[in-house]
Symmetry: C2
């Protein structure tokens, strides 16, 4: 039995949850208020971040390293394509979302609107919120440009890149910060990924004090 220490609105946790679900690796979820830096949690992961995956007695941290590891030990169904060029493109896009999108959008919208309140670090900074709201438009346009040429973000197969992107967008959708009218191809892509069984637990997430908007879990949004 796997155990994942996670936080419901952490995009890095969600990416790993999606990979675990897609590979049908039965996993117990344990919510971790990682910012409290509890001593037990730091012993499991000296980097002090979520997610942390426990398999047997071993602990695995860093969502990127975890996903590559799961792909190697549980290759079915594959979430990395064959061929060095195609694999490069997946890794480039995972980094795009986990670094660039995270810094420009997720940290600015989710970070200001939710984490400041949950972690007790003050009021939202409206300049950051505005900057995130501007940046997400460019990112959705970039996704639309990719999806005009491909069925999935990194090619014609669903890969880790789609899960990285969907992990961020689903967190932002929880706070109604995604404008699904901006691009039909991006909306269609999200509808496809949202309807996968692996997405169910993510659609059931509830954050105390921040009720789910009605469209969030609706497959016909």
């Amino acid at each position: 039995m796997y155990r994942l220490y996670h936080y419901p609105l952490s995009p890095f946790s969600r990416k790993v949850r999606l990979v675990l679900g897609e590979k049908r690796l039965d996993t117990e979820l344990v919510e971790e208020r990682y910012w409290e830096q509890d001593a037990d949690f730091l012993r499991r992961n000296p980097a002090g971040k979520v997610p942390v995956l426990r398999i047997g007695g071993r602990f695995y941290s860093d969502s990127g390293a975890i996903c590559e590891y799961l792909e190697e030990v549980a290759p079915q169904p594959p979430l990395m394509p064959q061929g060095a060029e195609a694999r490069y493109e997946v890794r480039r896009l995972v980094a795009w979302f986990d670094d660039k999108f995270h810094a420009e959008v997720t940290a600015k919208l989710l970070g200001e609107r939710i984490f400041r309140k949950v972690q007790g670090t003050g009021y939202p900074d409206s300049a950051n919120v505005k900057s995130g709201a501007r940046a997400i438009k460019h990112h959705i346009d970039y996704m639309a440009w990719l999806l005009d040429q491909r069925r999935w973000l990194a090619g014609n197969e669903m890969t880790l890149a789609d899960f990285a992107a969907a992990a961020h967008l689903s967190c932002l959708d929880y706070i109604s910060d995604v404008d699904w009218h901006r691009s039909d191809v991006v909306k269609d892509w999200y509808a496809k990924i949202k309807s996968r069984p692996a997405f169910r637990s993510i659609l059931a997430d509830q954050i105390p004090g921040f009720p789910q908007p009605a469209h969030y879990a609706d497959l016909d949004f």
Copy 2:
């Protein structure tokens, strides 16, 4: 012929330069003032970061994706070990240095002392510098703890994890921000990696306005 668009004191560029050198992939270096967001550069890499590697007519961005790609297309000498557990440990540590060490140390010391001046974004923030100077001690202690159990950072073979760490430390050593007296095993590890042929071009780097300290290129530092 490969061409790498890089910046001399970018740790991400240095990591890729070390991998290219170790694999004896002959590469032309082109210095890129990436923060000026030149239109040609953005066309090569919409993320607007260095390094960008050109192979034939194709452009590759994101240092992590580039290193995994090079490992797949030029596997000799290997910089990733065999076995999923060992590979996980390499990827965890690469992320440790490129995310955590970068945010807590490199961005605070190099970012404040050098990039503010070079990029014209104001005076160093002394609180950041102090925080970086404190954090690097903990990171050196963590490296020492790893190196007490292993010959290299991720195991008994030299891997990408060593190059990621050496890339950051060499940038900080250029501004004399590494206390080599803190740990003998860390100093011995750096002496081993510094003496590799792949390191030579890094030891020859010169930043206008910031002369090399005498110990920087000295193999007997």
